[in-house]
């Protein structure tokens, strides 16, 4: 990243922050800019943008939910023994399943839209459409899709369920990551078919998903 581009991005981020703050003073509750989400993650260097004030506010609702999830996750993870750096497959599996169980119990009533909020969903879809509709879109899609990808019809996605063992994890190109709100280390974006998945890596649980997120 060149210094010039870095500077431009910083200005854009600052402008979003400033605009958000102005809006807050006028009428609405404080929206958190997407580039700060979640609090412990560094700002995303956008390849699509800048966001309109409305879009930033919409994504801020997702930020709030992400922060709540991370708070819950941190609390639950703290109750389990730390996974050693030289773990056996059994230890990895046990740890993952124990954490998964705790997350699932704590989020018994979780449903689609809890994290990818109804306000954030159209913005996420729009951002992805911009990336996949760009000159590199075809290549980006090809790098996500793979012949070992299960047929989408064979997979029934459920929030708070274990990520299906039969479905391979897909690549997520840097251009896509740089478009979406930044996540902390324990969360990842993945795709199953055209659905965008928010995956808890350590618990191997689907935290939320958006159907039809990848444009055809």
């Amino acid at each position: 990243m060149s210094a010039t581009r870095g500077g431009v991005i910083s200005l854009v981020v600052a402008a979003i922050l400033a605009l958000s703050a102005c809006k807050h003073e006028e009428s609405l509750p404080a929206p958190k800019p997407t580039s700060e989400s979640p609090a412990s993650a560094p700002p995303t260097e956008r390849v699509v943008g800048p966001l309109s004030n409305e879009d930033a506010q919409a994504l801020a609702t997702m930020t709030d939910r992400l922060n709540e999830y991370i708070e819950l996750y941190t609390k639950l993870e703290g109750t389990l023994p730390k996974l050693p750096k030289d773990a056996t497959p059994q230890q990895i599996d046990n740890n993952q399943r124990m954490l998964g169980k705790l997350v699932q119990q704590a989020r018994r009533t979780a449903k689609p839209g809890d994290i990818f909020t109804p306000q954030a969903r159209p913005v996420i879809k729009h951002l992805l459409a911009s990336v996949f509709g760009g000159p590199d879109g075809k290549q980006l899609k090809a790098s996500i899709m793979d012949e070992r990808q299960a047929a989408p019809s064979a997979v029934k996605l459920r929030v708070n369920a274990r990520y299906p063992d039969i479905v391979p994890l897909t690549s997520v190109p840097p251009q896509v990551l740089q478009t979406l709100p930044k996540l902390t280390e324990n969360l990842e974006y993945r795709f199953i078919g055209d659905s965008l998945i928010l995956l808890d890596v350590h618990a191997h649980v689907i935290v939320d998903f958006i159907d039809g997120a990848m444009p055809h």
Binding site: P42, Q90, D136, S143, L169, S171
Partner: protein, 309 residues
């Protein structure tokens, strides 16, 4: 019994020599070396691995974790090679476990096929592919020590850098730059899953990743880049002085997938599984690509990049 067995081996070797017209090129100048013999098609000259004491010997393997018979057969060739070429480590360029990653999968897709090597003390150093769960970084036998990206030096003149190309966050790219800048080693070898240069019809070169990584490789004198993802073996013609290999042929094969018109292939092999064996001696790296049937399908020697005076 042992003598009889040896006779069979000699007879079989002679038969293979006659059938394949194998030839060897004596590179001759390396003292204390016992070249590793292998077969190669008659059209090309084989550059044997010098097998010199004190050199760094290693293998490269990618896209292997299927748990299916072909993977095991290639693993047998790796074990056979280790019997006469005592390599210390295997670099894994990702897609280490396909599909589920239950404890029994680690066993079936990794521990069993490579058991002879693991038992002999060969260390495997993994990078993660797009099909790999991040939790693999905690797996003891992948030697990642809980990290998605890391560096290590098996010899003082060589440093390997494992990079996570599936989920390359900006901070990881900064880490790589800092590590490359700080490294004073003669050989800087970077390994990760997605190739910057590949003639794969299925995936091919990852141009976006190339934009980010190639300037760093050039700036900090990376000599060698090892990748997988495309399911074949390809030695790419040096690109801006850097040597690139695609070794995604460890268990999955995408037969006939090399685009012969890409213009970047120095040598391609897409008709069977293969792994790569290499040996670094001072400024040179000797390499052989060996197929599931034990044939050496590519060989050669390359020289490391040196900083501009």
């Amino acid at each position: 019994m042992q003598t009889r067995h040896r006779s069979y081996v000699v007879l079989l070797s002679l038969l293979l020599l006659i059938l394949t017209g194998t030839n060897y090129r004596d590179i001759g100048s390396i003292t204390g070396a016992t070249p590793v013999e292998a077969q190669q098609s008659s059209a090309e000259q084989l550059v044997p691995l010098p097998n010199k004491g004190g050199s760094l010997k290693f293998c490269v393997l990618g896209d292997f974790g299927t748990g299916e018979r072909p993977q095991y057969q290639l693993a047998e060739q790796m074990a056979a090679l280790h019997g006469r070429f005592n390599y210390d480590l295997v670099v894994l360029v990702g897609d280490n476990l396909y599909g589920s990653e239950r404890p029994q999968d680690f066993q079936q897709k990794f521990e069993l096929p490579y058991k002879p090597l693991l038992d002999s003390g060969v260390k495997f150093y993994a990078s993660l592919g797009n099909h790999d769960s991040r939790e693999q970084r905690f797996y003891k036998l992948f030697n990642m020590e809980g990290k998605l990206y890391y560096a290590f030096s098996p010899k003082s003149n060589v440093r390997f850098f494992a990079f996570d190309s599936t989920y390359p966050e900006p901070e990881e790219i900064k880490w790589l730059e800092d590590e490359l800048a700080a490294s004073k080693n003669d050989w800087k070898i970077v390994f990760f899953h997605h190739p910057l240069y590949s003639s794969g019809k299925r995936h091919g070169s990852d141009l976006r990743l190339r934009e980010v990584l190639e300037p760093l490789f050039l700036k900090y004198n990376v000599s060698l880049v090892l990748n997988g993802h495309d399911h074949f073996y390809e030695r790419v013609k040096p690109q801006k002085g850097i040597n690139y290999f695609v070794v995604g042929s460890g268990g999955e094969l995408r037969a006939g997938n090399i685009d012969r018109g890409s213009g970047i292939t120095a040598k391609g092999f897409d008709t069977d599984l293969a792994f790569m064996a290499a040996e670094i001696i001072a400024d040179d790296m000797y390499f052989n690509a060996i197929s599931r049937t034990g044939q050496t399908v590519d060989s050669g020697v390359l020289t490391r990049r040196k900083p501009a005076p």
